[in-house]
């Protein structure tokens, strides 16, 4: 392994000068610069990040804390984070938290010992001490808690209004809203968006609360549909629960979209694989991850943030679970 010492020797300067050259700080004369540049190239020198970290107490590691990469919403987010991290020379550590504060704390503690640069976190525990006391840059994704940490999220409220309107415009008059977990801010925002839009509309509606889970959604919807056969529209606040609703409808022999229209929320790729393809309010998941990563890196590098709250627009993707608009 060639070290900064080897480079210094070959270039005929001190290691301090090489270090200054490498870091682009401090003064380095043109001559020295050239000599070092040549030596670096000739020796194929690459800096030892560990040694550097020990001095600077920083590393180019960033931590991505999310509930479970197995949840179809997260892989695309992780991909985006990794892509931009790579661009800026950072490396990402994957941390599945299972929404468990103990696991989250364990990660933040362990990684601080590695002088990790900062965290992107998707969690409901953002006000827990291991985050508030962390003294490291962090950016929240998807789930806002308070003003103190920068956040990027979708416009969930507007998205829900969009989906609701879509159902209404397509003639639905007995709508079931599948509401997500009450401890999730995005789910609550979607609920509010739905309520705001349905309010005053010429339609009946019901709300069912449940997790963003396929089987449970399927069962929930199946029994609801049995009890309320007049239901002609379902707005699920996640694609996975929409898939559950669709499956329930199929099981009951209900024609989608003729007799029942379904709209999901998220825009995960599974949506198009269903039959019929799932109409959904799509988040720009990749964009969310990319923006969050860029924000975090700015924070790490002490650059100013233009905004501490970034909202990514949402759009309706119309596929087979809805009919054409009635005029």
């Amino acid at each position: 392994m060639t070290t900064i010492r080897d480079v210094a020797k070959k270039a005929g300067v001190s290691v301090a000068t090489v270090s200054r050259y490498l870091n682009g700080n401090g003064y380095v004369s043109k001559d020295a610069e050239k000599a070092v540049e040549a030596a670096v190239k000739e020796l194929d020198y690459e800096i030892n990040q560990v040694a550097r970290s020990l001095n600077t107490k920083k590393s180019n590691l960033i931590g991505l804390i999310l509930p479970d990469i197995t949840n179809p919403f997260f892989p695309e987010l992780a991909r985006a984070v990794e892509d931009v991290a790579l661009t800026y020379g950072y490396t990402v550590i994957l941390c599945n938290s299972d929404e468990n504060p103990e696991k989250e704390r364990n990660y933040t503690e362990q990684l601080k010992k590695k002088y990790i640069g900062g965290f992107i976190v998707i969690s409901n525990q953002l006000d827990a001490p291991h985050y508030t006391d962390i003294k490291l840059p962090i950016v929240a994704l998807d789930r806002a808690i308070n003003e103190s940490v920068p956040i990027v999220s979708s416009n969930n409220r507007e998205g829900a209004a969009l989906g609701t309107r879509a159902l209404l415009d397509r003639g639905c008059r007995n709508i079931l809203f599948l509401r997500g977990p009450e401890e999730l801010n995005p789910a609550n925002d979607r609920y509010e968006g739905f309520m705001a839009e349905i309010d005053g509309a010429d339609a009946h509606f019901s709300v069912l609360t449940g997790p963003f889970h396929f089987e449970e959604s399927e069962e929930l919807v199946e029994s609801f549909l049995k009890a309320h056969p007049e239901t002609d529209g379902i707005f699920a606040s996640s694609d996975v629960s929409a898939a559950g609703a669709l499956k329930a409808a199929h099981k009951l022999g209900i024609d989608v979209p003729e007799d029942l229209q379904i709209i999901g929320f998220d825009g995960i790729s599974m949506g198009e694989m269903l039959s019929p393809g799932l109409t959904t309010v799509a988040q720009d998941i990749y964009e969310m991850g990319a923006v969050a990563a860029r924000m975090l890196i700015k924070l790490i590098e002490n650059q100013p943030l233009e905004e501490r709250f970034h909202e990514v627009p949402v759009k309706l993707i119309v596929r087979g679970t809805t009919r054409s608009v009635r005029t």
Copy 2:
């Protein structure tokens, strides 16, 4: 930040003794041990991994190199790797390669500078110099290349035979096999398994080669089905392409499973969300990732490996895209 020096002072011993105690190597007297233990507890001391790494030229980082976390096969694998890594005190770095050798090389190079412990890699490039010359433990997943690197994979051949037999047993006599990319070993093994089983069976068959991609599979199957309406069974060598086949069938108004039965391969969770639910040859994806992680950690810690080639069994999960067995 409290350092080993603080602990030494408080315990009234030298830093060398504290270090020995911490690493459990070298002799430490009972008395010294107690004193250090107490000091560590009292000061809430935790070792600085970066400083340690600089000395040992090792870290408890492991790299997971995979094509794209966005491909539904990989998240569960990543989850398993992370789970066992955590158990052993390791941390995983996520690397999306896009099957691009340049990106892979870049990761292995960059991470070596961080004294990464080793890699778990899913790649077709295992014989590229950046792997063969790496001088670091690596374990291959899913795709074997040669004897030199330990590998864990599914019994793809047997799995394919299993799926083929399932179609035959259920009365299929005109079978389409959706073969995956020819550069993928697992895909080839599945092809061989299919051929071995179909050979001599009282059935016609065709083979279509294509990527494990939803839309392309859908298009491929749609035109095939138009040209060959007598097709009564499709065995796709991935769940995603099976989903494409199912969608094509729906589009053409073909009754699945009455007139056409479909079996996939992989066992990803999307399978159950389809309607009807996808019958599939399921790999134990989590187990594969877990075994690979355990193997890698053994390698990193210089423990003997019982086996350099681990094959994880595969099983048929029967859902709605197949009928009951004809007797």
